[in-house]
Amino acid sequence: MSTTSAFTIEQFYRFLEQRKLMAGKCLTCGKIHLPPRPLCDSCYGQIFEWVELSGKGKLLTYTIIHVAPSQFQTMAPYTVGIVQLEKGLKLLGLISDVPLEQLKVGMDLTIDFVACRLDKTWPQWQRYCFKAV
């Protein structure tokens, strides 16, 4: 399923609706992009294939946000972290359902899918977060 046009941010979020975390692999140089990009930043290739990731990873770092932007104020305080996935890829997301005392750099996490709670001024994309394994 390689094409020259579909390796977009929109398509990344569409796959999430199917509960799939998908990266784009450049068929010219082999670099894997998460999120996918329509132009390889390494070799400028435009031919890609989709690679499905397990969504499992380790917590690299985190913060607990108390002062939130307007749209997120009802959720505060909430935890956000950066997760190291397979193939050297990383992703940022909300960390849900992990008690503060159990939050630890290096802990195992896995992706989860949640409904979008943002108003219509934001894209109504499928949202993801990470939870403890």
């Binding site: 770092t61 913060t63 002062v67 939130a68 932007p69 307007s70 909430y78 940022l92 934001w122 894209p123």
Partner: protein, 390 residues
């Protein structure tokens, strides 16, 4: 280049930083410009200034874009090319860099470089949202991340990797607030203790309200010229001898390192080599302390200490006035304030005062070499300049 001046600063101006109720950004910019003109009576602005570059981050604050020409207009300079530069909190660091391009290209021999932001009339939630616009929209903003949140994640990573503590971060706030007491233009004139900082309200753990820079109104400007023209305008120019600007991924999550800013390291390396100056030769520095942790990371990225030892540097008072390398004598973004578009050139203003012996109570004795470090967003932009007086 090997230490030869790229351009010379012949004057500088800064508005009071703080709340300017009832003033528009352009009116605050005019205050900074007036000081720079008064300081340099030999300069005839309408005759000599050939271009203006103004750093301005957000149209949202005043529903006003097009700040380049707006500032030129209200600065009595219409006719000349006027350009707004935007690189989040490095907007005017990039204006300065653009001014250097203009002078070195030969297209303009005298250039006004400045920056402005009017922020305090907005609510904290609005400002949080406007600032977050400088981060990655679909992969950071969409997931509820704020700017304090991005720097907090770097702080957490640094604490884990090197044992940096919340107390060491608090010491940056205490130091910069102490420096600000000596700067009449600083936004906040308030001494802090480590205990007060540690007990203050959480913004984004591990960062608390007193770890954060201030929401401030303010404007800054400097006047650049070719080194061989400087003596026409002043007897005490400050030369820019090194200029580095670098970029990085817009998203923090894609970076190789979460404990340093590669853009700042690259920009510093370029500037040091151009200036033929080493970190230990720097007498005084203004660094981008948008959060206390960011100053600790800046020490390491600029080579003021070894990687992982930034916390210890502030603990040993080496970066306080009177220490080995005084950092943020102005009070920094932390206490002088952070009108984002004005910050980069406000740092250059402080170095101009220091290297011309005009920093009064906060003067670093014998300061001859200065450095500024201005970061945009979570580090997708960094600008480092090195300055020298004759």
């Amino acid at each position: 280049m090997n230490g030869k001046p790229l351009v010379s600063i012949v004057s500088a101006g800064l508005s009071k930083f703080g709340k300017h109720e009832g003033l528009y950004a352009r009116e605050i910019f005019a205050l900074a410009l007036k000081e720079a003109l008064d300081r340099c009576p030999k300069l005839e602005p309408k005759r000599h200034i050939k271009a203006v570059f103004v750093g301005h981050m957000g149209e949202s604050y005043e529903h006003q874009g097009h700040m380049g020409s707006t500032a030129a207009d209200w600065g009595g300079l219409i006719g000349i090319p006027a350009t707004r530069t935007e690189a989040a909190c490095a907007s005017s660091g990039v204006a300065l860099r653009s001014g250097i391009y203009a002078v070195l290209s030969g297209l303009a021999d005298v250039v006004l470089v400045g920056g402005v932001e009017k922020m305090t009339h907005r609510t904290t939630a609005e400002v949080t949202e406007y600032l977050a616009m400088a981060s990655d929209y679909p992969f950071e903003q969409f997931h509820g991340v704020t700017f304090p949140g991005l720097f907090a994640m770097m702080a957490t990573a640094h604490m884990n990797a090197y044992g940096t503590t919340e107390e060491q971060m608090a010491r940056v706030a205490v130091k910069n607030h102490r420096h600000a007491l000596l700067n009449p233009k600083a936004h906040m004139q308030k001494e802090l203790t480590v205990e007060t900082v540690l007990a203050s309200k959480l913004v984004s753990w591990p960062l608390k309200i007193y770890d954060c820079s201030l929401i401030t109104d303010g404007a800054s400007c400097i006047i650049l010229t070719k080194p061989d023209l400087a003596s026409k305008f002043t007897d005490t120019p400050v030369h820019i001898v090194g200029s580095g600007q670098a970029s990085d991924t817009i998203g923090l999550y894609e970076r190789q390192s979460l404990t340093s800013l590669n853009s700042a390291r690259l920009a510093a390396k370029i500037a040091y080599e151009m200036a033929d100056i080493r970190p230990e030769n720097v007498d005084v520095a203004e660094v981008h302390d948008c959060f206390t942790f960011a100053e600790i990371m800046a020490y390491e990225d600029l080579g003021f200490c070894k990687v992982g030892e930034g916390g210890k540097l502030v603990e040993k008072n080496e970066t306080a006035l009177g220490g080995r390398i005084p950092v943020n004598t102005s009070g920094g973004l932390k206490a002088k304030g952070h009108p984002v578009g004005a910050t980069g050139v406000a740092q250059a203003y402080e170095i101009f005062l220091q290297l011309t012996g005009q920093a009064e109570q906060r003067q670093v004795k014998g300061a001859h070499v200065g450095l500024t470090h201005n970061v945009g967003g979570s580090g997708a932009t960094a600008v480092v300049h090195i300055y020298r007086s004759d």
